[in-house]
Amino acid sequence: MTLRQPHSGVPQIIALLVILAVNWIVSPQFFDIRLQDGRLFGSLIDVLNRGAPVALLSIGMVLVIALRGIDLSVGAVMAICGAIAASLADSHSLPVTLAAALGVGLLCGLWNGILVAGLGIQPIVATLILMVAGRGIAQLITEGRIVTFTDPALAWIGGGSIVGVPAPVAITAVMLLVTLLLVRGTALGLMIEATGGNERASTLAGIGTRAMTIAVYVWCSLCAAMAGVIAAADILGADANNAGLWLELDAILAVVIGGTSLFGGRFSISLAVLGALIIQAMNTGILLSGYPPQFNLVVKAVVVMAVLLVQSPKLAGLSAALRRRAR
């Protein structure tokens, strides 16, 4: 038996191309790319580079959502892990700093996972706890200040490059490949989809749904921790009040634009990342356009609505019916 490909990705790819074309119209130098200090430099690179944190978040978020869950705490986890990385960077080596930041990310995920899978608390409430408390924890770590660092090793994660590719983009690409291998290279993806569709049936069928759910929340928090380290490395400091603020909503939006239903089941990691790039391409386009900032949110809302309408099966059915009637 062959499985039907759940998502073609055609609407998303078209949406991205249209937005990029609009960006090119408002800003003719949009596709110009040159090397600056050994790093690729251009608006298109900005889209990838600035989109990296949300793309990372969406990689973890799509798995959580496929399990019919949701993780509201990723923005706060970013703030915590960024604060830890920035606080340790100048006194410890990079491996220690990274291990501490990612280790705390892992603990955050474990907390969420145990609340959801262990205690059976609804995901939106369970992760809301860490969303609220997490930012407070981050503020405690930074004592309410912006903690800056000068360590070039950590700064490289935000501003460095591998053969011209900005480090955040490279890290996100590696994370995407690893996740794809883990999830789609094994039966794990199928088990996640089955559990998201019907948890009870999946348990009865012998899937360790509880352990798997915890593992997925841990993975989501790990992605958020990495995104937090990137965000801190980017500005050479940890801003506990603002790092990752509202990014959980952007990540959820990216997943939804990528065609994954909030009711769980079938999912696509690549399309979620594509969704993150669509959001960022739009943000960069708005910044390049020179419109007054009052328009930012309205433009964003209109574009998101258009992308979601294109995907709506009801609307597709309606337009097909209209075409039949016209004939």
Binding site: R145, I146, I235, T284, G290, P293
Partner: protein
């Protein structure tokens, strides 16, 4: 950044307040107890204000009781009632919102305890319920920044890009308005691009990246104006990463005077900043002492100085003096 509303037009207040500051601090100050209802730790500036208030009280031998309201008006009202019950000599209030103070301030007035507003004003209807308000004029801050730029560029044509604060925040609107007033009448200085950087480093950096691309690699940008220093710190990074030289090729002027901008100034990467002084309590103490001792009624508005700092002001020394204030 902190949001505050300037008091109506009353420019003579500055002169009067300066005259009052010159008054000798008398022995009566030693016996004074002042209750201070502080908003809470919303920003580094707020923390610095608290630190400076404590130091200013100590300098005058005044006992200062600080109540942290954690951003809640009801906590502030409770604190004021407690101060009234304790029979303090004066109450300082940094109001978290501008309305809803009538009842509690009337209670303080009935107990004949003078109230001084710090940093933010309240609704005009409550004008006779407090002794005076010590605030900065954010329109004036923008004007000082604009006038510095006009003076520095002389007759040269200068394209300015502006990083605005959060859309709708009164302090952003005012700093924009003030800057436009400052450069008015000088056709050679024009704002070519203006976008919101939401008062944060990360956004300031992202917006500056797009400005650089939209303005032909940044070659046509002559100066950057940011509504706060944090956005400027981000913008400076963006310029450096694009191979530009902030501080020499591109002039920078921002507002707040937080420690990190002085570090950039010392490194030759920033040019000027306008101080939003954290010392609001000093003039307030002087006003209270004069009122208690001689019955001198201060003007309704004491405007704090918006001091301009440039790289000529020994930035490293200013940095050292500010870095431990809690910014």
């Amino acid at each position: 950044m902190t949001a505050r509303t300037p008091v109506s037009s009353c420019l003579t207040a500055l002169g009067l307040s300066l005259a009052m500051m010159a008054l000798p601090v008398a022995a009566v100050a030693a016996d004074l107890t002042v209750g201070f209802s502080q908003i809470g730790s919303e920003s580094g500036w707020r923390a610095a204000e608290t630190t400076v208030s404590k130091a200013e009280a100590e300098k005058r031998g005044i006992t200062l009781k600080i109540a942290d309201a954690q951003q809640k008006q009801e906590n502030q009202i409770k604190a004021i009632r407690a101060f009234v019950a304790q029979g303090v000599d004066a109450i300082f209030l940094a109001p978290v919102v501008s309305t809803g103070w009538e009842t509690v301030l009337a209670e303080a007035k009935e107990a004949e305890i003078p109230v001084v507003l710090l940093d933010r004003d309240i609704d005009p209807s409550g004008k006779d319920l407090y002794l005076t308000a010590v605030t900065s004029d954010s329109v004036h801050e923008g004007r000082v920044a604009g006038e510095w730029l006009v003076k520095t560029v002389g007759d040269k044509t200068c394209n300015v890009v502006e990083l605005q604060g959060t859309v709708g925040a009164s302090v952003a609107t005012n700093r924009k308005k003030g800057f436009e007033e400052g450069i008015a009448g000088h056709a050679n200085v024009t704002i070519v691009r203006s976008q919101t950087g939401e008062f944060t480093r990360a956004k300031g950096k992202e917006v500056m990246e797009s400005f650089i691309k939209a303005e032909g690699g940044g070659k046509s940008i002559c100066a950057v104006y940011a509504h706060n220093d944090d956005m400027m710190v981000g913008a400076i990074q963006a310029m450096k990463e694009a191979g530009l030289k902030p501080g020499s090729e591109i002039l920078t002027v921002s507002i707040d005077a937080v420690p990190d901008i002085f570090k950039a100034m010392a490194a030759g990467e920033a040019n000027a900043t306008v101080e939003l002084t954290p010392n609001m309590a000093g003039p307030a103490f002087d006003a209270v002492v004069a009122f208690k001792e001689n019955g001198t009624v201060p003007p309704k508005w004491i405007q704090t100085e918006s001091k301009l700092y440039t790289s000529a002001d020994d930035p490293m020394k200013v940095y050292e003096s500010k870095k431990d204030l809690g910014y």
